[in-house]
Symmetry: C2
Subunit: 128 residues, 2 copies
């Protein structure tokens, strides 16, 4: 039998796109990427571990800020190349800008407008 990790269609960089959705509110919090190790760690630790493409290393979500994402469910899509995580967002802040989620810019008439408040200033979130 194929290992469950090998049923995923990893892209050329060995990554899969991962959507994190908040349990209860169903708010889409963010999209990030995982490699095989990150996904295995996510399952093992029962909390989200991503692959940081900018830093090219494992990203233990919430390690610094405390804004951990506790794992509730993992889904795979029809093409085996997108994962949907259901998570409990600790502290209610998923975004590095200190907002609840990352999708805070809304398209109005030919412009993007910020429509979500900062809950905690990032300088406080990342000062520890």
């Amino acid at each position: 039998m194929t290992h469950w990790l090998d049923e995923i269609t990893w892209n050329e960089q060995g990554l899969v796109a991962v959507i994190a959705q908040e349990i209860g509110t169903n708010q889409v919090l963010m999209l990030a990427w995982m490699n095989k190790e990150a996904l295995q760690l996510t399952v093992d630790k029962n909390q989200a571990v991503y692959w940081s493409r900018s830093r090219q290393k494992l990203w233990f979500k919430g390690e610094e800020s405390g804004n951990v994402q506790k794992l509730k469910d993992i889904r795979l899509d029809c093409d085996n190349d997108v994962i949907l995580l259901t998570v409990e967002q600790i502290n209610g802040i998923a975004c590095h800008t200190g907002r609840h989620h990352c999708f805070f810019k809304q398209l109005g008439t030919n412009k993007w407008k910020t429509v979500e408040p900062v809950i905690t200033d990032p300088s406080i979130l990342y000062s520890k």
Copy 2:
């Protein structure tokens, strides 16, 4: 002023990842990709138009099946490289497998299990 389309960080293929979420249920329906033309068309037609990476052409969602996604909201994330669409999913079927959405495989103990029903057989959806 920068054109709103130029504020998006398009990837090396000129694409941006797009999450489609259903209005009302907040169900995440699918993830697809758009190029600049697809996103402009999405706004102009008020319904989702993607870029098919497999077919390398514009994908007018629902053109064949009738399962159109009417546009309700467009959001951009903190890194300007992911879009979240809120849509009304006509016929309640987003997935080409005939299911409500694409995330129908759930991770159990070391295996993926299909947990969502087929609403309409794809042979009927795509027989027109």
